[in-house]
Amino acid sequence: VVDQIRLWQLEGDRMKATPGFLFKEFNTQADYEAPCRYAEEIGVLVWKQDTQRKFFVTRHEQVAAFLRSRSGKGG
């Protein structure tokens, strides 16, 4: 019985699974920060790690469009 309770705990609090997309391999901190902030603003940001320059979002379309528009401008 105890084992079964533990297994339920795994689903409940011990493990959280969120489908989505990981963005990574940004060349500079500035390249990373802008889309990360944008993702947060539009409410799709789930996780980020500044030092690794990686972030995870539930939806990628808008963030991808944001990145495209920036790369067009900047170079």
């Binding site: 533990r6 297994l7 493990m15 699974a17 969120t18 997309f21 990981l22 790369s71």
Partner: protein, 71 residues
């Protein structure tokens, strides 16, 4: 150029994560990216299989007195 990789973000105890790493060692079939102590990205198609394996592993480890002494 930044990359976007599809997957499932898994946030869990370091102890659970250690088990996931162990499961992945067999075939490297689950993990897309190891992010930190408590976070990793796995293949979406493997989520249910991973959960099943995890439950198996937990059932096994709980038979061993590995973390006793906290009263």
């Amino acid at each position: 150029m930044p990359k976007a990789v599809k997957g499932v973000l898994v946030e869990c105890d370091p102890s659970i994560k250690a088990i996931i790493l162990k499961i992945d060692q067999d075939k490297h079939d689950y993990i897309v990216e190891d992010l930190d102590d408590q976070t990793l990205v796995i293949k979406e198609s493997q989520l249910n299989r991973l959960k099943a394996r995890l439950e198996e592993e937990l059932a096994n480890t709980q038979q061993m007195p590995e973390d006793s002494g906290s009263d």
